[in-house]
Each structure stands twice: as C-alpha cells, then as structure tokens.
C-alpha cells in the first residue's frame, strides 16, 4: 500500500506495529478499522495512563468507567439508579454548528438508553469565543439551535448547563453534551457480547456515507483551509428517528432475550462490534452486504467507518431474534440480522460471501498503542509567577464595574439559550435554570437528583492542578447548595494536542487535581471522555483552548421537598457568608474586564475545608436553617448578591469588614464560599451550627424590599444600584450580543 494512504490512517510507527501484530500487510478495510480503533478518540492512547489516577469506586457506584455510561444508586429502597455520561462533540460543532451539536446530544442519549435507562435530562457545557466576531455568533446560535432542535424533539429536557466566552475558543468552540437516565438496578443492560452462535442485529437508521472518519477527525487539530472539506464528515442527526429508537429499545428490553446492546457512536459499526466482542472475550462475524444502506455502491470500508446516526447493534439469544426485531418493526425501524457471535476472538467481515477482513479483537483494543507523552512546564506559567494584582488601579465607580460584569456574556443570564430548550418535558424538573444546580424529582420515589456542570478553564489555564480541583469542587458545591449530597462525577477533558509537552503538562496536572478532589469529596468518576487536539494553526502560530476539564456532578437529595434554590426569598431575611474572603482576582471575570487577559497564579482551594463546607450546607438545608444558598463564583461576592436578588426583584444591604482592597474583596473569586439567607429567628441557630462544623460564617447584611442593591465596605457605601435596572442588563445581555446588537 502507498505510504501516503497509510499515513492518512495511522502514523508510520503505528503501521509497523500493525505489521508486527498481524504478521502481514492489512488490506484497506483493515487499515481503516485500525485507524478508527487506534484513534485518540477511541483508544485514549495518550490519556489512558493518567485516567487511572481517578477514583472510580464507592458503595453507591453501580457501574464505573468502561461501559457506555456510569451508574449510581439513587434510591436503595426502590432500587432506582441513575445512568449518566458527558461527551464532547467539539470538532463537528465548529465545522457545522447545528448538526454537530445536535448529533452530540443524540450520541450521548444513546449512551444512556443503551444501558436500559430512560433518558430524563440533558445538559450542555459550551465554550465559545468572543461574540464581537460574526463567525462566532453564527457558531453559538447554530449550536444552541442544534441542541434545541434535537433535545426538544426527542422529548428529553435540557435542564441546565454552562457557557463561557473566551478568545481561546475563537476557532475551537467546545460542545460537551451530558445525559442522565433512570433505570431499575435489575434492568440494566450491558454491552458485553456473549453466547457463541447468538445473532447480531442491526437496528435503526440506514447506513450512509456521512461521518466517515469522524473519530479520526476528532483526533486532529484544525487548519483553517481544511475545515470546509471536512464538512462532509459531519453527521446529520434525526431526532425523530432517535425518539423511535429510544422507545423501541426500551420496549425490546422489556422482552427476554437481549444479551448485549451498544450504540454505533464514533467509528460506528467498527467500534460497536469490536468493543462488544472485547468486553465479552468473544469474536464477531458480520456480513456487511446485509447492512441496510442509504445509498447504492457503498463499500465495506465505508460501511465499517460510517458514523451515520441513530443506529444500534444488539446481540440477542438465538431463537429470540424475530420477537426482538418485531418490536423495532412496529416502530417502523429497520432491524435485521447481520452476523453472529463467534468463539474465536476475531472480527471477521464478509462481503457477499467473501472474507474482507480478519482482525484479532485484541489487536484493535488491548494492543492499541499507549503513549506516555513527555510533558514540561509551559513558559507562561513561569512568567505569571511575578504577577502582582496590586498594580491595577482601583476603580472609581463601583456601580459601573458591577453593571459591566453583569453584562459580560459569561456572567449574564443564559435565558436566551435555555428558553429555546424544552427544560420541562417529562415533568420532573423541580428547580428550573438560573439556580446553582438543576433538580429533578424521581417519580415513584421521595428522592431528588441534582446536577451541575462546571469548569472554570481560566483557573485551569493559570494553574491546572488547582483548576482541576476547583472544577470538581465547584460542581459538587453547586449540587450541595441545592441540598443534595454530591455522589459522583462524569468528565469531559478538553485539551490541545497531547503531542505538545506543554499541553500534556496541563493535562497531567489537571487530572492530578481532579483525582485529588474526587477522593476528598467522595465523588468518584463513573464515566467520561477525552477530547484532544482542540487547537488551530493560525498564521501567528498554534492556538490551543484553555485546559477545560468539564465536570458534571450528580447528587442525591434524600427528600426532594427540601430542595434549595439560590435566590433571596423574603424581605427581612439575614444574609450570611460562609467561608473566608481572600481577595484573589487572578483568573477572575474582573481581571478580564480591567486587564483584558488572565494572569497570575489562578485560584486555589483547600479540599478538606471544601468538604466540611459542603457537608455543612447540605445539613443546614436538611435542618431547614437556610432559605437560599448561592455559591460564590464568577464575578465574586458582588455578582453573587445581585444574582440572588433578581428572581423576586428584592433588594439587599450588606457591609463587609474585611481588610482587603474593596475591588479585590467584591470581585475576587476566592473558592469555598457560599452566600445563604436565613430567617431572622434562626440566625443564632445557624451560626451555632456552623461553628460546630468549624465553618467560618458571618452575618453581612439583610434582604430588603427596596429593590436596591447596596454594598458597603467598612461602612462606606460603594455600590448602590437598582435591582430592576441591573436585571434588565443581566437578562438581555446575551441576546443583544448574539443578535449583533452590541
């Protein structure tokens, strides 16, 4: 074979490895299969050694990493579990925002219902560049409408998410889609093929030429000229087909006979068949001419590598296939037997009776290359050590700063986005968007499920280790602020090229931090994915995204009736700050506002204290001591207070005594802080409780009915703003910016 063709699939070194494993030259079909299975996306070849650091077990973990989704126990008494996972769809979403994002949602939903779980919630973690760029506005709008189109149609609510805007994402936006489903423990399905002679059934949409080499594409960086050509590689989603597939699969699972089931995601038929066989220690024989195709003349190579959406592969007990296929046909879906499980652990592919590939399963999975990539401290980290925040001038008008912060798209309300998502369908959503975490009730149970997606990549950029810790801690803190005990996380690790030692250093440090946080906070990693090569070559060199390890934390509320929201409830309630003010603005939205870039050492966090804080807030909510709880994050204390006042258009008056420069105090993003409100008569009880838990807390002010947000520092009034006026800015900023009405 031509070296050029070989190198379009694998590296020259990898090809030598293939020759050694096979003892012969692969044909083109086989080479294509290797390229998909050995791609970064499927093989985790650069990340695997580091992912081992993550804790993955806890008494409530039912299924850790390695399956299509992770599963935790939610309600022991009723044996109700939650299956969930977050996955990236970054590359396709930049090339074709609408379909890229839509198919991201479709893919993650399939990962969840393939385990027997009915999907009940979606979330999306999005990263865009600055909105003064018309291309980025087009991308952002396209991504949102793609998610809206798909999620709304399949009838799974999109209950929350997060969005950041920073220039590092200008040519590499990130779209991380999360889904969660509910399943009874004894109804969980796995993707482990078994039973020699059992038929392999293909169900769902027909196979087309779309998405060929999607997995390989996701494992390369962009160079602008190529982008357009890659458009052909983006799959097109059909949420209607997906809805039918969900219903048909769940119905088929009610019947006896399904042995294993997996969706055809990245690398389509290749990865689904190989992974199912690998888990079961068996082989698979497929007759590719039996695969339903969308167009004529498709070759075995194309059929194996197509990433057409809404397709599943099912192994069922021999003799039960007709009954199973009948369910799919009732839903007007294609279903046909395309092969069988074989004893010999080999993938054997046939095309009208002729063998076109014969590959040992192990060669594609266990023997895939693993790279311990070298890493080194980036230059910018060293330069940042000398940063001194005292050099920035103190602002003259604090009111102006607050308004600007509330207007920044990262902080401003995401109403324009979530209004386009059906966040209510299935009537389980009991805390709607705008609060710290989304809360779902669990029908037929007293429990609730809280979900929050977080990652401040600015902190990760300035200090990947601390940033990784904070990503986990903040997601868990948001869940805790809703009254739920954080139970587990799923993650999506978005980085630049692992072949760059400075990027690799970010990856190693961030995952170190995450692992430490997961251990201390007892939130094991149950599923996730890695997305490398989020970088673009421009005429000014390479631009990689900030290290963005998105974390979605799932927590359980013992009693959903006790769920907590983040906004002020009543005039006269007392405002209490939990945690300590330090006044660090490194990596903050305020720093971006005044300096236009992120510098310094970033934020840091004490995990032992964070744990104590989270435990305390959950217990305080349980005891009915607080009426609102809102985590202090982007924009610091000032933004936190205004956000809390918007919902009911109440006011507040606070006075801080700290010996910290006023702007650092109000806009610093120090970690492990929560603002709560408490009824007057319960203040003593709350403070005593927190003292007992060794959580520092002080009364800082009161909720008023004046509609004014008033902040004093040591008695001096520094902020005095109308809540209504600020709410207008906060509520409409994103729409103004996205529609170009800056």
């Amino acid at each position: 074979m031509d070296r050029e063709i070989i190198e379009q699939h694998v590296t020259w070194e990898e090809y030598q490895r293939i020759l050694k494993i096979l003892g012969r030259e692969p044909n083109l079909v086989e080479l294509g299969i290797f390229s998909a299975m050995w791609s970064e996306h499927c093989s985790y070849k650069s990340s695997r050694p580091h992912l081992k650091k993550f804790p993955t077990e806890a008494p409530w973990v039912v299924q850790g990493p390695g399956e299509n989704a992770g599963i935790i126990m939610v309600d022991e008494e009723n044996q109700i579990c939650a299956a969930f996972k977050v996955e990236s769809h970054n590359h396709p979403s930049f090339i074709e925002p609408f379909h890229g994002a839509a198919t991201g949602v479709g893919g993650i939903l399939r990962d969840v219902f393939t385990m027997g779980a009915r999907p009940v919630a979606c979330m999306d973690s999005l990263r865009f560049g600055e909105l003064n760029d018309s291309k980025m506005r087009y991308v952002a709008k396209g991504v949102v409408s793609g998610i809206s189109h798909y999620g709304n149609c399949v009838g799974v609510p999109t209950v929350g998410g997060e969005v950041y805007f920073d220039s590092c994402y200008q040519t590499n936006p990130l779209v991380n889609a999360f889904a969660l489903g509910i399943v009874k423990k004894d109804k969980i399905f796995y993707a482990k093929a078994a039973g020699v002679g059992n038929p392999v059934i293909y169900v769902g949409a027909k196979t087309g030429r779309d998405g060929i080499h999607g997995a390989t594409m996701a494992s390369e960086e962009f160079s602008s000229e190529e982008e357009v050509e890659k458009k052909v590689n983006v799959q097109v989603g059909d949420p209607f087909m997906e809805k039918l597939l969900i219903e048909a699969c769940l119905e088929a699972m009610e019947k006896d006979g399904i042995v294993a089931i997996q969706d055809m995601g990245a690398a389509g038929l290749t990865s689904s068949s190989v992974e199912m066989a690998a888990r079961g220690g068996v082989g698979v024989r497929l007759e590719l001419d039996k695969v339903p195709t969308r167009e004529e003349g498709m070759t075995p190579y194309e059929i194996m590598l197509s990433e057409s959406q809404e397709r599943m592969l099912v192994v069922c007990e021999k003799g039960k296939e007709e009954e199973i296929m009948e369910v799919f046909r009732r839903w007007d879906l294609d279903a046909c037997v395309i092969g069988e499980v074989i004893e010999e652990p080999v993938l054997r592919l046939f095309w009208y009776g002729e063998e076109v590939a014969e590959l040992p399963i192990k060669a594609l999975t266990d023997e895939a290359p693993v790279y311990c990539r070298p890493f080194k401290v980036p230059e910018y980290i060293k330069e940042n050590l000398s940063y001194d925040q005292n050099r920035i001038p103190e602002p003259e008008d604090y009111n102006e700063v607050v308004k600007k912060l509330l207007d920044s798209p990262t902080i401003a309300s995401k109403r324009w986005i979530y209004r386009q998502y059906d966040h209510m369908v299935q009537i389980n959503t009991v805390v709607y968007p705008e609060s710290d975490a989304a809360v779902l009730r669990v029908k037929e149970s007293k429990k609730g499920i809280a979900i929050s997606s977080d990652c401040n990549s600015r902190y990760c950029y300035l200090n990947p280790y601390e940033g990784g810790k904070i990503a986990v801690a903040e997601a868990a803190r948001n869940v805790a602020c809703s009254g739920a005990i954080p139970r587990a996380i799923t993650d999506c690790l978005n980085f630049g090229s692992p072949e760059d030692p400075e990027i690799m250093w970010q990856f190693v440090k961030a995952t170190d931090g995450m692992a430490d946080a997961c251990r201390v906070l007892e939130t094991p990693v149950v599923s996730g994915n890695v997305s490398f090569y989020n970088e673009t070559t421009t005429d000014r060199g390479k631009r990689a995204v900030f290290p963005t390890p998105t974390v979605v934390c799932v927590g359980v509320l013992e009693d959903v009736e006790k769920r907590m929201t983040s906004f002020f409830k009543e005039e006269g309630d007392v405002i209490v700050l939990l945690g300590e003010n330090v006044g660090n603005i490194s990596g903050s939205e305020y720093q971006k506002l005044v300096e236009g870039e992120f510098r310094g050492r970033g934020q840091s966090i004490d995990l032992a204290f964070e744990r104590a804080l989270q435990r305390a807030i959950v217990e305080a909510i349980e005891k009915g001591l607080v009426k609102s709880a809102h985590d202090v994050s982007e924009g610091g204390l000032a933004v936190n207070l205004f956000e809390s006042a918007f919902e009911r258009e109440l006011g507040f008056e606070v006075d801080f005594e700290d010996d910290i420069r006023t702007d650092f105090l109000l806009f610093g993003e120090d970690q492990s802080r929560i603002v709560v409100t408490v009824a007057k008569e319960k203040v003593e009880e709350l403070l005593n409780f927190l003292e007992e838990k060794t959580v520092p807390a002080k009364v800082v002010g009161v909720v008023t009915g004046t509609g004014k947000g008033i902040v004093r520092h040591k008695g001096r009034e520094v902020i005095n703003l109308s809540i209504k006026e600020c709410k207008e800015v906060y509520k409409n900023s994103l729409e103004r910016k996205l529609t170009g009405m800056l």
Partner: protein, 230 residues
C-alpha cells in the same frame, strides 16, 4: 372515567398527560397507537404534545393522516370530548377539527417558559371549574404557536366566544408585550362551536402539581372529569 391518549411516532408528552391523569387525577388511561382505530369505552381524548412524525413538514400535517386521527375526528363529530395540547392542538387544526393554522413563533425560535393566560370562556367542559377572567400561570414549549386565521374566522371565533384562553400579563393585561409567539389576538387556545373540541398551546399537564411550580392547569383535567361524570 377513561381517557384515551393517542401515541404518534414522535409524541413526547403522552406519558406526562398520562401521569397527571393516572397519578394526580386518579383516572384511567388507554394509550392509542397511531395505527389503531378503536376508541370504544373512551370518554375523552387528549392529543398530547411532541413532534408527531418528526414534524418535518408543517407541525401536525402528517399526523392528521394517521388512522387514529381519523377515528378521533369521527369521535369528535359524534360529540366526544377532544382536547389537544401543543402538538395536539396543531394536529387538531390540521385535521380540521378546529379552524385556523399555526405559523412559526415571531421569534423564529422555540420558546419554553411559564406564561400567563386569561380564561375567556369558562362555559365549556374543559374550563368550567375556572372563573371567567381568571389568570393562570402555565408553561408553553413550542416553535410553532403563532396562531393565525382569516379575518372572517377570527371575527367568528371572537363573536362565538370560541377563544378560550389568551396570553396576558401577570395582572391580566392582554397586549402585544405579553404575546410570546405573535398569535392573533393573543390567542392561546380555542374551541369549536359546540365546545367539545378544545386546543391550546400551553401545557396544563406541566402545571398540575405543586412540586413543578404551578397547579393552575389541573382544573382543566378536573373540569373534564366533572362534566363527564356529573
């Protein structure tokens, strides 16, 4: 009593309506597969929301052709109670059980949010437990809810009191400012002349339990039960 809920491929609020009827209201539900025609024993049909057949054509345009819709039309002509929610409303329009049609929202985007509705007609079986002029807080979730019809039809609807609910402010002011989707005369729901067929864009099943933030939609279901059983 027994409610029938048609399930088209792509229906996605069928279970929600079923949940409210069975678990909150305490009545029986039969799900009707789109290929079915048998409606025997059913007292009221609720056509649920969703994206029937994907709604790749005009919303509801495909669903009107399915066997179950034909049966529903016959059922309605015989005076049977038929309520359409969201996509269900769109289907009833396409099927000709209610006059008019839907345009895309004036925002050209999907909108999901709580809105306020004013009860304009409380004399039909679906709304008789409400006060006339009562303000309800119920969510909408649709991309095509911009109701339109000919001037003659609109005049007729208004004169006959067929406009059942209208979008309004929390205080009950009916104006363009509080019209989320651009519908004519702020129309959120209408009934036929006889009052046995009712369609609305908002989702009463999403406002039938305190835990989801509103119980204002519950009395629609309760109204049906009272009018059938009394």
């Amino acid at each position: 009593m027994k409610f029938g809920i048609p399930v088209y491929p792509g229906s996605n609020c069928d279970r929600d309506v079923g949940w409210v009827i069975e678990k909150v209201l305490g009545h029986e539900v039969r799900y009707l597969w789109h290929k079915e025609r048998d409606l025997s024993g059913i007292d009221c049909i609720i056509v649920p929301g969703g994206f029937s057949y994907g709604d790749y054509l005009r919303a509801g345009a495909m669903a009107k052709l399915s066997p179950v819709t034909e049966a529903i039309c016959e059922f309605a002509e015989r005076g049977g109670l038929v309520m359409g929610i969201c996509n269900g409303f769109q289907i009833l329009l396409e099927a000709g059980l209610l006059p008019g049609a839907m345009l895309p929202n004036k925002t050209l985007s999907f909108i999901c949010e709580f809105v306020h509705l004013k009860v304009e007609n409380n004399e039909i079986p679906f709304t008789h437990l409400y006060e006339k002029g009562e303000i309800l807080r119920i969510p909408i979730a649709h991309a095509e809810g911009n109701y339109t019809c000919t001037p003659e039809t609109l005049k007729e609807l208004e004169e006959n009191g067929q406009v059942v609910v209208r979008y309004c402010s929390p205080e009950g002011i009916v104006s363009e400012e509080f019209n989320p989707n651009g519908s004519l005369n702020n129309i959120a729901g209408i009934c036929n002349k006889k009052g046995n067929v009712f369609g609305l864009m908002p989702h009463p099943e999403r406002a039938s339990e305190a835990i989801v933030g509103s119980v204002d939609g519950y009395r629609m279901f309760e109204s049906i039960v009272r009018s059938v059983l009394v």
